[in-house]
Amino acid sequence: MTAEPLPEHPDFLWRTPDPRSSYDVVIVGAGGHGLATAYYLAKNHGITNVAVLEKGWLAGGNMARNTTIIRSNYLWDESAAIYEHALKLWEGLPEELDYDFLFSQRGVLNLAHTLQDVREGVRRVNANKLNGVDAEWLEPDEISKVCPILNVSPRTRYPVLGGTFQPRAGIAKHDHVAWALARRADELGVDLIQGCEVTGFLKDGERVVGVDTNLGRIHAGRVGLAAAGHSSVLAERAGVRLPVQSHPLQALVSELHEPVHPTVVMSNHVHVYVSQAHKGELVMGAGVDAYNGYGQRGSFHVIEQQMAAAVELFPVFARAHVLRTWGGIVDVTPDASPIIGSTPVENLYVNCGWGTGGFKATPAAGWTFAHTIATGRPHPLNAPFALDRFTSGALIDEHGAAAVAH
């Protein structure tokens, strides 16, 4: 295994337009999901009179803070369908966008440390296979072959009893994904407007007709929210209540190391997930902080527990150093599945609730959200993820496969 060279730092990839007074569609939030939505609105639906409004800078929220893991090994049919659609899109996007964002299908191991983990893992592998998602159950000796630096000794506090493996899963350079989508959306005519915060919604009765921003009023035929951790705050300004809670989710990187870690390892039970970035940093994610928070930081004991788990699993990391830690704000739903669809306000659509796992879904979130906004009806892939499931009771419980404790 050798480190692949990083892409050259690009020139300016998109214009910096002033907002026009009116658009067919306004997307709020220029993270991965907002940019993918704009791209697919233009590409799949021919809707190019679109603005993406971003209160900070492009892809500076969770798109800059995630641990870049891409996989589709979710339990339920509805989830497997949408995440697998995303994975298939990932496989074609570097060519389609003419941008090598280092999508590396190095596989993902989800470890089992208890009998219940084993049962759940085997069940998930079987469910994945029935849904056409590549998945294998590996015994500890087979795990060693995939990831030799992992400690599978029976003498650890929580021994590795086995694990699921999805070979097509992997990682990608998150910033470059956003820039690739932004460049192509911009070429197709989409206005990407940074430093533009939505402060209110313009309504005509129960129909949204525009947004108020710090850069003035912008009329819109339809408005789509893709604001992740701030979805509740935004939706409340439109008079919509969402069943999401915003939590800090922390991650960290080490200094650069020679390539030692050939895959991605996630452990739900001892709670850490680890990959090695192309440059060489070890990238590790923690569980969510229990309390609600918008501060983009969390408590240090969460980091401590995460590092303890990492060192137990990977003794070779014991002398690595933390280079930096950070936090993002994740919007968590009661069933750990996203909400993509209409709201009680006509022409206002919401894509939120991705919680700890939104990055991997970026293309499918954009694909289905664009379809929903363009046609006024959900795509078959996101129909089960409607807001009304919390009233009907048709929940899609992915707390197991979400793999991040919350």
């Binding site: 969402l242 809670q245 918008y294 501060g295 408590s299």
Partner: protein, 93 residues
């Protein structure tokens, strides 16, 4: 790490506590009369403000009693804590 004051035990590290989400969410007085929408509100919908938030904590490794904390979710500053039979300081909710 947060420093949270238990109304009975005094200031302790966050690791002594567990979180219980939004405070002051009463059980519906007449559950049988609720619509599905109202049940959804009670079971699944909670406030998620950016700013002061009244929330429940339990002192798991101390007195094991529940109490309420008023905390700013933007700055994570703990504003005050109070017993569960006391109203939210400042009047609202």
């Amino acid at each position: 790490m947060l420093l949270i004051t238990c109304p009975w035990c005094g200031p302790r590290d966050e690791t002594e506590y567990h979180y219980g989400g939004q405070a002051h969410v009463p059980y519906p007085p007449a559950p049988a009369d609720l619509t599905d929408q109202q049940w959804a509100e009670y079971v699944f919908y909670r406030d998620n403000p950016k700013g002061p938030f009244a929330e429940r904590w339990v002192h798991s490794t101390g007195c094991r009693r529940w109490f309420n904390v008023l905390r700013d979710t933007a700055t994570h500053e703990v504003l005050t804590s109070y017993r569960p039979d006391e109203p939210r300081p400042g009047g609202t909710r």
